[in-house]
């Protein structure tokens, strides 16, 4: 766990960070606002102080209130790993700038995030369903996606069709979502 | 109307039966009247009859040859893969390939819609015809060449080249992109390898001055140093590579590269029509091996001539009426002779067991004796055995290569043919001609 990296991140984007840099085990974590996401990523990639050239992972998260996009970066010079969380995407129409301008390899991961969460990455040339069929309607990894055999956490359990796109009528706020304020 | 209720077979019979009845009657009358003339005509042009008989015979022997080669391929590759391979049906699974053939026969012969039906149906026939017709000129033994005509080698290349037509027909008519690619690959490959194949034997033609295979074989008489593989090594290498490509064998089996284009030209085929392609491939392997052994390995000549002229001259005609008696009594006596020691050896052996064992032993011994006698006394049998030994060694080599080598890419394949084999074969021709010019024949 690298204190120097934390200090560097603080003094680079001190005002941009929504929360102070968290470090646990060998992972560092910063949160940046939706507007700053692209600049932050570009700085992390190009700045010789960081050189986070490898995009290890890109994924979307549905916390119940909002959508997040999480980037896991790895530095090719120093072995640092960084997690950049971009919170605050609107659950109804999540949109964020694509990372393919810098990492072309992010294309399919963004496609997957779009397929699973409906997050629209502006600038991705090939943003379409990747796992699910093209005529598929719902976004499976959203928290209000019900599984018929999931008796654990949904009043819609036991509906005949395997999933239901939206919130069922008889669902109440207490039971629709598994909200996680901590995330 | 009854006609509409008849099955196709029934309709065929309804047409054929009256024709047969009338035709049969007419034929009898005609035979009665012009029989002598017809016999005279047949006697006059015997070669046509000979050709027909030879074609039928070659067709008949081509199928078991294919079965044998398929079994060899399965078993040898299995052993090289550290597997056991077919071992359930027949001794060591020897009947496996026959069962495969029956399976292919019983499968549904499906014609996909949107294929060009006549071409689609004709293609396997053309391929199989082209492959077994080349068997005609194979000199199994000096006396065992079905059609030993002068242009045998040329005939071989001409008819062998016909199989490409069949592959192209299959690839084009199947209405399938894999098939199309496979057919075109096969055509390109076969055409580009025909040239080095033909040119590589020109050296031998220069040396022997003939195109007839029996004469080429006869030209290699003597010890194994007279074989053309030692007098024309470069030609032998080129020829071997070229026939590998001609027979669509690994590493040149791009036409049915199952990792790239699913089954190539045979993708849409099923049932016996696929079986024809399958058989044709293996008959081709046998034929090219036979040709190589005839042209380069001395064909039916033994490697070393051991001049045995044994004095066992049994004048069977001298026995007269005794011959059938001996022929009838010999098995009985032989069986008893061999059975007696077994029966006396232990008391636990029952009489019938002893007799059966004796008969089997007698059978084996007598067969071996007759075989040896034939090998020694009848030159054709000896030369046939030598020929088959050489041929099947080559077949084993092909299967061995299939078990070892990966597949060459199509462009590397063509480049190899045009950039290396063709100049090499031309060089071989010039070298041979020069040597002949210098040293005389």
């Amino acid at each position: 766990m690298d204190r120097r990296l934390a200090a560097l991140l603080q003094e680079k984007f001190g005002d941009r960070l929504l929360t102070p840099v968290r470090q646990r085990y060998d992972e560092s974590e910063i949160r940046v606002a939706l507007a700053d996401a692209t600049d932050t990523l570009r700085t992390l990639h190009d700045d010789p102080a960081f050189r986070f050239e490898m995009l290890i992972d890109l994924c979307g998260v549905d916390t119940g209130e909002e959508m997040q996009v999480v980037y896991h970066l790895s530095s090719s010079t120093s072995g640092d790993w960084l997690r950049v969380i971009v919170p605050g995407l609107d659950r109804t129409a999540p949109r964020i700038a694509s990372a393919t301008f810098m990492w072309p390899g992010a294309e399919w991961m963004e496609r997957e995030a779009y397929d699973m969460f409906g997050i629209i990455f502006e600038g991705n040339r090939d943003l379409r369903r990747i796992y699910m069929p093209d005529d598929y309607r719902s976004y499976p990894l959203r928290k209000d996606f019900y599984l018929a055999d999931d008796a654990s956490r949904s009043p819609a359990a036991g509906v005949r069709n395997m999933e239901r796109a939206g919130t069922p009528a008889d669902a109440t706020a207490a039971t629709t979502l598994r909200k996680s304020p901590g995330v | 109307m009854a006609w509409s209720r008849l099955t196709p077979a029934g309709r065929a019979l309804a047409v054929l039966l009256p024709v047969l009845a009338v035709g049969g009657a007419l034929t009898t009358i005609l035979l009665a009247t012009f029989g002598g003339a017809i016999a005279a005509t047949i006697g006059a042009n015997l070669p046509i009859v000979r050709f027909l008989v030879a074609a039928v015979v070659t067709f008949l022997i081509s199928v078991p040859v294919a079965f044998l080669l398929i079994y060899m391929e399965m078993k040898i590759i299995a052993l090289m893969n550290l597997r056991i391979g077919p071992d359930r049906i027949g001794p060591a699974g020897a009947v496996m390939s026959v069962v495969h053939g029956l399976k292919v026969l019983m499968k549904e012969d499906y014609t996909p819609p949107s294929v060009d039906v006549p071409v689609f149906t004709l293609a396997p026939v053309v391929v199989y015809l082209a492959s077994f017709m080349t068997l005609l000129v194979i000199p199994f033994a000096p006396e065992l060449t079905s059609m030993g005509f002068e242009l045998g080698l040329l005939y071989f290349f001409a008819i062998g080249g016909l199989s490409v037509v069949g592959l192209m027909m299959a690839g084009w008519s199947s209405f399938n992109k894999y098939s199309l690619l496979g057919g075109i690959r096969a055509a390109a490959q076969a055409i580009s390898y025909e040239i080095p194949l033909t040119l590589s034997v020109v050296g031998i033609v220069i040396l022997t001055g003939t195109l007839s295979l029996p004469k080429i074989v006869a030209a290699q008489d003597g010890s194994f140093l007279d074989w053309f593989i030692f007098r024309q090594p470069l030609a032998a290498i080129i020829f071997f590579i070229a026939i590998t490509a001609e027979a669509n064998r690994t590493p040149f089996d791009n036409a049915e590269a199952d990792q790239e284009i699913v089954a190539g030209f045979a993708t849409e085929y099923s049932g016996m029509r696929f079986g024809f392609f399958f058989f044709a491939e293996y008959v081709n392997v046998f034929i090219v091996s036979a040709l190589f052994s005839a042209v380069f390995l001395g064909g039916s000549n033994p490697p070393i001539h051991i001049d045995v002229n044994p004095q066992i001259l049994i004048d069977l005609s001298a026995l007269g009426i005794g011959l059938p008696l001996i022929a009838g009594i010999a098995p009985v006596i032989g069986t008893l002779l061999f059975a007696a020691p077994i029966w006396f050896a232990s008391s636990r052996v029952k009489g019938w067991q002893a007799l059966v064992a004796g008969f089997l032993i007698f059978g084996g011994v007598s067969t071996a004796a007759v075989g040896i006698w034939a090998f020694v006394m009848l030159p054709p049998v000896a030369s046939l055995i030598w020929f088959l030994i050489k041929t099947f060694t080559l077949v084993f080599t092909f299967v061995w290569m299939r078990g070892t080598l990966p597949r060459a890419r199509i462009d590397q394949l063509m480049g190899f043919a045009w950039k290396w084999l063709l100049p090499a074969s031309l060089l071989n021709i010039f070298a041979t001609a020069f040597a002949v010019l210098i040293a005389g024949r």
């Binding site: 901590g182 | 949107s114 690619l181 597949r407």
Partner: protein, 403 residues
């Protein structure tokens, strides 16, 4: 006869009878890229490979736009094996989630277990006993050897050689059998637990391992001799699908495919986990970045793995193999990313806990998914046969790609 004709999908100028035209309907392009892919120029046609194609590993469908034999463009179609593992894991508790991640890579299951286990252990601040760490390293390296051996066979098979795959399966089966003797399962060993492993080393495993180690290296070398020296194989793979280091980094390539491009990035070295920092091993790299280099890097890794196994067997300490843990695991809310270096690259698991006994979000990152993107860029302008060679050299496993 009069019948209405319809234009062919490949070439609109070719009219084919309507009753013989049961193609799939022409897909409506949804994106810019797809539109450009679906437009055919002069002399081009689509060749559809898969999902039931002999040489697409698993159920992958690749639509290839060819001009004659030359591949112009290529579009992989995924999702035939999609099981929604992430959703399943979110609805199972932490122990059950490990079992779900197992079938992701049926070739190297242990790595798919190791990643979520590492993430969960970070979430719960669990210290794994040293013996368990050594056992994990041992089993993982064995599994890596099995995977690479199988890769060698598949590579040769996709190039048309039929023998190496069967020789490879002999070695792999021995490893699989000994792992079955240890874990109790033959293919999907559900062996790693949060805080240790399920069951200590036993006698069957050790005896099988000993007999195998005594002849493994020589056997594998002799197997390699079949095609490593083979001109046909080398000519087909050398200089094919060259991937330079810069592109590889931008494409997010990891593992042997990245090391074959000259970037010595190996999690076991750069981001040490378990007891790897205490073990001696090299990180084989090559600079060519072509298919042959990708193949050879894997073959070198087999030897390194054998080295590691040798050291682990000598330094294996005694002690417990499981940490003391409550029956019901409720980690405190937090996030953790566990990553291990697998035979194909970085297997990552990003787990979010909200304090319940089930992961709130569990993201599974599989390297095959990233590497499959490269098939298009790497095979453009090559032949159809090269598509198979490049795909085999990237070594994707569809179970992980489709999740």
């Amino acid at each position: 006869m009069t019948q209405q004709m319809r234009p062919s999908l490949d070439d609109p100028r070719v009219a084919i009878p309507a009753e013989s035209s049961w193609y799939e309907p022409a897909p409506i392009p949804q994106t810019e890229r797809q539109a450009e892919f679906l437009t055919l120029r002069e002399g081009e046609m689509f060749v559809n490979m898969g999902p039931q194609h002999p040489s697409t590993h698993g159920v992958l469908r690749v639509i290839i736009k060819v001009n004659g034999e030359k591949v112009v463009d290529l579009d992989p179609v995924l999702g035939y094996l999609h099981r929604g593992v992430e959703k399943l894991c979110e609805n199972a508790d932490y122990h059950q989630a490990i079992c779900y991640t197992d079938p992701l890579e049926y070739v190297a299951s242990l790595f798919c277990e190791a990643a979520p286990v590492a993430a969960f252990e970070k979430l719960m601040d669990v210290d794994v006993p040293r013996r368990a760490q050594y056992i994990r390293v041992l089993t993982m390296e064995l599994n890596r050897i099995a995977s690479h051996t199988l890769f060698q066979g598949w590579m040769a098979l996709d190039l048309g050689g039929i023998t190496p795959i069967l020789w490879a399966f002999i070695e792999r089966d021995e490893i699989v059998d000994m792992l079955a003797a240890l874990t109790g399962q033959k293919l999907l060993y559900n062996y790693y637990r949060i805080g240790g492993v399920n069951g200590d080393l036993n006698h069957e495993f050790m005896s099988r391992l000993g007999t195998w180690m005594s002849r493994a290296a020589a056997q594998i070398d002799s197997n390699l001799a079949l095609i490593n020296e083979n001109e046909i194989f080398v000519r087909r793979t050398r200089g094919l699908g060259v991937l330079d280091a810069k592109t590889a980094l931008k494409m997010g390539v990891t593992g042997p495919n990245l090391r074959a491009s000259g970037v010595p990035f190996d999690l076991r070295r750069d981001r040490p986990y378990l007891v790897y920092p205490e073990l001696e091993f090299d990180v084989p790299t090559r600079d060519e970045g072509d298919s042959l280099a990708r193949y050879l890097v894997r073959m070198d890794e087999i030897k390194q793995s054998i080295r590691i196994i040798d050291q682990v067997l000598h330094e294996m300490p005694d002690g417990p193999v499981m940490a003391k843990l409550p029956r019901l695991l409720r980690p405190r809310p937090g996030r953790a990313f566990g990553a291990v270096e697998g035979p194909r690259g970085v297997y990552g698991t990003y787990a979010i806990s909200d304090g319940t006994d089930q992961p709130f979000r569990m993201r599974i990152h599989d390297p095959s998914f990233v590497h499959l993107q490269l098939v298009g860029p790497l095979t453009k302008g090559n032949l159809i046969a090269d598509t198979m060679a490049v795909m085999a050299s990237l070594d994707p496993v569809m179970g992980g790609v489709d999740k």
